[in-house]
Subunit: 581 residues, 2 copies
């Protein structure tokens, strides 16, 4: 039963579901539904898909997450960045608007679902950790810019295509003379209205005496108002006759059952994109879920979140949807509106289902420019270059990774951008550990303490060299230590002993062990003995199982002090005082 | 001048070149020449190239290395593993024996040379460190098996192709009925003879009173004897009439000047292979060079070695050769024979050049089976499975990387094998650092010392939680720490303070900083204060430049003892004794 609850969190919260929770969840669901309808349509458009696919992606996936997910406030559905990534992935296979394109998006959701499920079942949630925060921040910012730019075409009523910023701008400039004035009026009007709703409406409502929570929720209904008003004008004035692009026929009724195509070529071309989309979606979703859970001292289980999101995406694939994940803005609204359990998501699904049954005919006259305005206003809040300043001040390596992610995403599209960012941040970390801090140490006079000879006034012995390495020894720095030692030792004819002080070494891998063997061997060729000091217990246990301990020309000392005392007594050499440099 | 010497080491050793050194270098050159002639022919055959290309690759490249290289004993030329990798790379573009195939091998040498030069000029030699020793050992062993198996066709006088072990075995079995008996006799005879030379000849010569060094050198001449004897029989008995494959016409004279093809498609297809070949060749070469240099307390400069090997490969590309690197067996012979400076390599080049002028007509009747025997005997000494046992006993992560490298190399060929090995060993390292050791600590009674509550009998306070993380905090473990903390904190209603003991943290990157900010924020939502203790100077310097220090709900304590003393006094809570679990 306990295991079952782990995999089906609904069995946990479902048993204690109360009337109060029901009321709160229902209120939250109504508000999220109102927010989700225009968003679903808009993001489907952004992904190059027919608008109904956005609605379909907001029904069964939400129910699936309610059953399998662990977050009580996460609102799942189509989101901006994943929609953009879907367009980039599927665009390689087919032209937007074709049946092949929609079919590929369904396969993408299916593959993404399978991958997330597999990661969850094998408890591989930790893999998301290899996306560093700054890289994600840079990626989201760059994606936001690309999305906003791509939607300018909707505001201007022209055509424009491109996977990266430069293609988009070029394409926009090329078609600039085709601007449709009525579309421009609707687009700019809707954009201005939505910005005002965001910034100006809430203070106004507060002044009128609404509670802050109500004012906040009213402000979230802005997009629905924009949709209603522009649709009305579009119908009343017959704007489509003047060249205003409208949504047109949206099929009425519940989502169809779809079976993803099992074409090996399509699978092969999409699998890489599915992995990227899954990981980006998972990372975004988990951070929102964690933030919201922490506020109520609740917790989420990242590996189970993978299963929840996997189930959602498979649900999307079998009901004509496309890749989904937990949305940031939407989840915050859900939380603020009082959602207490994942049931709120299921109720939202019912709301969207009702909308697909009853409201779709009303969407016929909805201008696409309104949806473009919705997207632009939504994604511009994602654009935040402060990460560049933060990392510049704090860590240049992180800055390099962020800058590369932003530039490559803008210049070469989302897939290359995020891959390069992840690769570069891992490379920079490995690079730093591959060149560890190595200090030559001497004894602080009058103590048993050994410190860096460059920073402290210490005693050394010309026949004894003590080296302290401040990093685990592993393959990437094994040769660095070798080189450092040989460089230091070659030419110093007085040396008889080298002591490796291992106080900061928590691990020695096989490569480092072989390097130590080589060092031992080569020092022996030079008639220098190699000793170790302050080796930690677990490291010593492993070393005891090897030949190294018997081959070692010198000894292993419990403390550095013991090493110097005994070696110095044996050789009877002189003591030098060194000053910090 | 100093910078010039750095880039042209010949200016260093050349100025002090003595008559003694000349004599020693000449003797070494003669011995290496004798060893190199059959090897060059054989390895060219292994690479699927005409035999003269092996000779060409042993002339100008050696001179180039003598000018730019820093090792005094390294003998450069075609080697087994790189020849196999050349065959794998070039085989994707053209059929062995065609002009396109040879042209692609030349391009490969050129690309490899450019890549090595670029790495050297940008001082990127450290990149070779990301090849772990066990992965290389596994790769060489697997390559040796593939090479030996591929050469069985030469011994049996049949045809067989394949990039991996299973294709090779399948192909051998398929053609087994075509075995040519005279070829088999020569092949098995030569193999047996060469094994005897390796194992039995030296003791015999020692018994006859030769010095160990002379006996060793004589034994190295075995392959030349095998070539001479089998060529004689092949000529005298007219063996080619009985189906024995012979080398045939080898062009007489110095290498031609060749200009690598500048075809973009060929470059694109070969660049990945060129990178792999360069790195593998460099790693092998540098380890031999370092081992030999250490014996004489000399040193090599890895970044300059890249330039030396780069120049060699470009020299190979412009004189009809193919990728070269420093050979292990050959360099040891060179060293043992007394080579004192890189001039020995230049003299070897002259020896090979003379051979291409004078001896090539004699090679007409040389049976290919003899060359196959030479290769088999040479590469079987590379096969060494002991790394599997070593790593199994010492480190399971390393074992996994080696086993994967061997299996994937045997099963899918050299390029997939080595790439997977490198990828896996980096992944396993990252995985380990992504799940650092985290301990909850308490005070050892009567001291100011804090230890793991699971291992020691310590005092704790129910309202204060102290966590010690034994790893640098960076993106891959930032979320792990977050998860660990939330899991620990959620549900513990008594907690008022969390202290993060940072004694083992040498670095906090931007992601980890953001995690700390998130932890601070979320703990604050739970009315828990976050404190830090024992933060190192450089880490503190970086933190001071951020908002984190002003946002921190708690304080930064110099020592863990101070933290507990002051926090406990403030809250006036109780003290608990915990027993180790």
């Amino acid at each position: 039963m306990k295991a079952l609850i782990l995999y089906l969190p609904i069995l946990d919260w479902g048993r204690t579901y109360s009337r109060d929770a029901l009321t709160n969840d229902l209120v939250a669901a109504i508000i999220v539904t109102i927010m989700l309808i225009p968003q679903s349509l808009a993001y489907a458009l952004l992904a190059g898909l027919p608008p109904e696919m956005g609605l379909y992606a907001s029904i069964l996936p939400l129910v699936a997450y309610a059953v399998f997910g662990t977050s009580r406030a996460l609102a799942v559905g189509p989101v901006a960045v994943v929609s953009l990534m879907t367009a980039a992935a599927v665009g390689k296979l087919a032209l937007p608007g074709t049946a092949d394109y929609a079919a590929a998006a369904i396969v993408l959701a299916f593959l993404s679902g399978l991958f997330l499920l597999a990661m969850g079942l094998f408890r591989l949630g930790f893999m998301a950790n290899f996306l560093s925060h700054p890289v994600i921040a840079g990626f989201i910012t760059a994606s936001g810019i690309i999305i906003a730019t791509s939607q300018l075409k909707g505001i201007l009523g022209i055509k424009a295509d491109g996977e990266n910023l430069f293609q988009l701008i070029q394409s926009l400039l090329l078609h600039l003379s085709d601007v449709n004035i009525p579309t421009l009026i609707i687009g700019v009007g809707a954009t201005a209205f939505l910005f005002w709703v965001r910034k100006g409406l809430k203070p106004l409502l507060l002044k009128r005496g609404l509670t802050p929570r109500m004012a906040d929720i009213m402000a979230k209904a802005g997009p629905v108002a924009a949709v209603a008003v522009t649709t009305f004008f579009s119908w009343a004035l017959g704007l489509s006759k003047y060249g205003v692009a409208i949504v047109g026929t949206v099929p009425q009724g519940l989502p169809p059952l779809t079976i993803p195509s099992f074409n090996a070529d399509i699978w092969t071309s999409l699998i890489g994109s599915a992995v990227l989309i899954s990981i980006i979606g998972f990372v975004e979703s988990v951070s929102v879920a964690q933030t919201l859970a922490a506020k109520k001292r609740q917790r989420i289980i990242p590996d189970q979140e993978l299963i929840g999101l996997g189930a959602s995406n498979i649900a999307a694939a079998v009901t004509g949807g496309y890749p989904v994940t937990g949305g940031f803005a939407r989840s915050v609204v859900n939380y603020d509106a009082g959602a207490e359990t994942p049931a709120a998501g299921a109720f939202t699904a019912i709301g969207i289902a009702l909308a697909t049954i009853a409201l779709t005919p009303l969407l016929y006259f909805l201008p696409k420019a309104t949806l473009a305005a919705t997207i632009i206003v939504a994604v511009l809040s994602l654009v935040d270059f402060s990460i560049l300043r933060t990392t510049w001040n704090y860590s240049r390596a992180d800055f390099a990774a962020v800058a590369a992610t932003i530039l490559l995403t803008l210049g070469f599209g989302v897939e290359i951008g995020i891959s390069a960012g992840v690769g570069l941040s891992i490379f920079l970390f490995l690079y730093r550990t591959s060149r560890p801090h190595i200090a030559e140490v001497g004894r602080v006079p009058g103590t048993e303490h050994f410190r860096n000879i460059k920073r402290h006034k210490v005693e050394t012995h010309p026949e004894i060299l003590t080296i302290r390495v401040d990093e685990n020894l592993y393959f990437a720095n094994a040769r660095f230590l070798e080189d450092y030692l040989y460089d230091r030792v070659v030419g110093d004819k007085r040396l008889k002993h080298v002591v490796l002080m291992c106080s900061a070494v928590n691990e020695i891998d096989t490569s480092a062990l072989e390097s130590l063997e080589a060092i031992n061997h080569r020092l022996s060729d030079m008639n220098i003995k190699l000793h170790l000091s302050e080796v930690k217990g677990p490291v010593m246990d492993k070393l005891q199982r090897t030949h190294f301990m018997s081959d070692l020309t010198g000894r292993v000392f419990l403390s550095q002090y013991a090493a110097i005392r005994e070696l110095h007594a044996d050789s009877g050499g002189t003591v030098s005082q060194t000053e910090p440099t």
